[in-house]
Symmetry: C2
Subunit: 338 residues, 2 copies
Amino acid sequence: MLDERKLAILRAIVTDYVSMREPVGSKALVDRYHLNVSPATVRNDMAVLEEEGYITQPHTSAGRIPTDKGYRLFVDRLEQVKPLSAAEKRAIESFMAGAANIDDIVQRTVRLLAQITQQVAIVQYPSLTVSTVRHFDIVPLDRGRALIITVNSLGAVTQRNIDAGDADEQTIADLRARIATVIIGASPTDAVGKLQDCGGTVPEQMRPLAAVVVSALIEMLSDDPSAKVAVSGVPNLMKYSDQYETNIKPVVEALEEQVVLLKLLGEAVSNDDVVVRIGHENPYEPLQTTSMVASSYGSTTETVAHLGVLGPTRMDYPSTIAAVRAVARYVGRFLSES
Amino acid sequence: MLDERKLAILRAIVTDYVSMREPVGSKALVDRYHLNVSPATVRNDMAVLEEEGYITQPHTSAGRIPTDKGYRLFVDRLEQVKPLSAAEKRAIESFMAGAANIDDIVQRTVRLLAQITQQVAIVQYPSLTVSTVRHFDIVPLDRGRALIITVNSLGAVTQRNIDAGDADEQTIADLRARIATVIIGASPTDAVGKLQDCGGTVPEQMRPLAAVVVSALIEMLSDDPSAKVAVSGVPNLMKYSDQYETNIKPVVEALEEQVVLLKLLGEAVSNDDVVVRIGHENPYEPLQTTSMVASSYGSTTETVAHLGVLGPTRMDYPSTIAAVRAVARYVGRFLSES
DNA sequence: CTCTGGCACTCGACTAGTCCGAGTGCCAGT
DNA sequence: ACTGGCACTCGGACTAGTCGAGTGCCAGAG
């Protein structure tokens, strides 16, 4: 049904439309790509491609543009991933060098990805469910306040302000030690379980404080930072606004909705490699004029979260896919090392 | 030069233009605001106002719109701050309730401000220079890594991953204790000084680790989070994009430049109250079509950082000013309490 | 001196009409 | 199966022409 030449033409249409941003006609196609046939032949092939739903015309007597289905075929069968340039590899190295804690890593990653792809980048914070609690402390502050801190094996810190009432130093230290023995070494979920169980064993005068600390601690251990995402590169969207294209308003709005982004990333990503969602393949309606290129990332052994790029359906898929893959791998390695 | 009526007319023009978003003509003015004079009279007054530079016409035979100078006069002399509605006050309360650490407070504040004003909100992270170090710890992680943590009197936590080499638990604990005695109770700046001084006193076998820890610690204590800002409400900008107005692209770009925003906030804010910068009063060129309403905030005794709102010069100044003031005060109180 | 009604004028927004050319589909010929 | 040729379509750009909101100015009234 689709012979070699028709596929070549589709590929040429996609490539040309992505770089020129204009509907592409038969003549231009023959000129720019050395298909050794006449425009008329190309037209016939294009008619078939259109019938099959791979391309359309914005209006009669205009060139063709790819449909989502066309992009899909292009991504699946027609192009290989472009390897990154040396400059890009260097950019990755230098961007990430010196990141000193998890927040920092995520921030840098998201900027990096936005910069390389020239699109909107989204990075989910690493999940801590695979970690274990390493450290626990209660630090008294001013005016009866205190700060509870936990550190886990990945080096992630959580913190929370509580009202310590009039508890004295000794009580606090005592409680600290008790709780530490219970939760250190446990995974967050286990730790929560243990905390809920061991309510009875606390000495009387420690009770009120213990209640406050434990409930705060449970909250801290339960809410996983992977419910958060970082976004960067929103200005890159602006490039498309003057175009008679995608209305970017709903897109920008979606980008402030953490929940939506999380869901998108989560749904998009499969087990292994980079996943591409094109236009209407996207479950979230306001983003059906955009494509998402996403991947999971994590230490070598374990997926910890997702990251991805959002852009117009008309994007340079080969490069974007390469960039997402490279960044995901690099961050994974970086997380394992540090 | 400008009598009562002319001022009333200017006020009416600003009010009308802000709400209608269209150049306002003499007739509409007489109709909508019960000035007891004829359109012709209003026209004469408008001619004067225009001569003085308070208003202009986008083109001949269109209504007038206020100039920056016009807005300035309006803000300075013609309008009082609108008190917040009960609903808004409630919104503030409920938005902030349950914020449990400094990051959280800042995040909530910036969202809140964006929501109330329907503009882009910017909140600088609180400065820690007025704080003292409360807690210091070194937590060993996997694979020779360790995490350094500090907590200060405001409850802010900093953290940093280091390479601990092959240092054993005992050495680490020992070093921890030594450093703790040096820096706890000191302000960040003092602590840095002390750390730099006391290099000589460390036992031989502790040296390599100490060097790493101290240099990381110095970095941590030196870089003040008030070099960071949170931004929210970018989608609110989109409302203006379809208008033949402000090109929002440079604005969105500026919003990703932390440095620029910091500078703007810093320069805008005066000692005490809310400050308004209108259009060209703004030193940063791409933002000269926007206005900024900014204020400092902090505990009752001390300014710790700035916050503000960015929007089109044509904004509802009375409401925005009220909102910024209210939020700044509320956050200040909140910070003092928690 | 201040305000008003009247009037000529300006200029952008909108509509309608025209032209041009890119790009198409189809067909007959190689 | 491919190609050249041709009639056709339709959007974009340009031109005129009309409409009306809004102006500035002036002479006259209070």
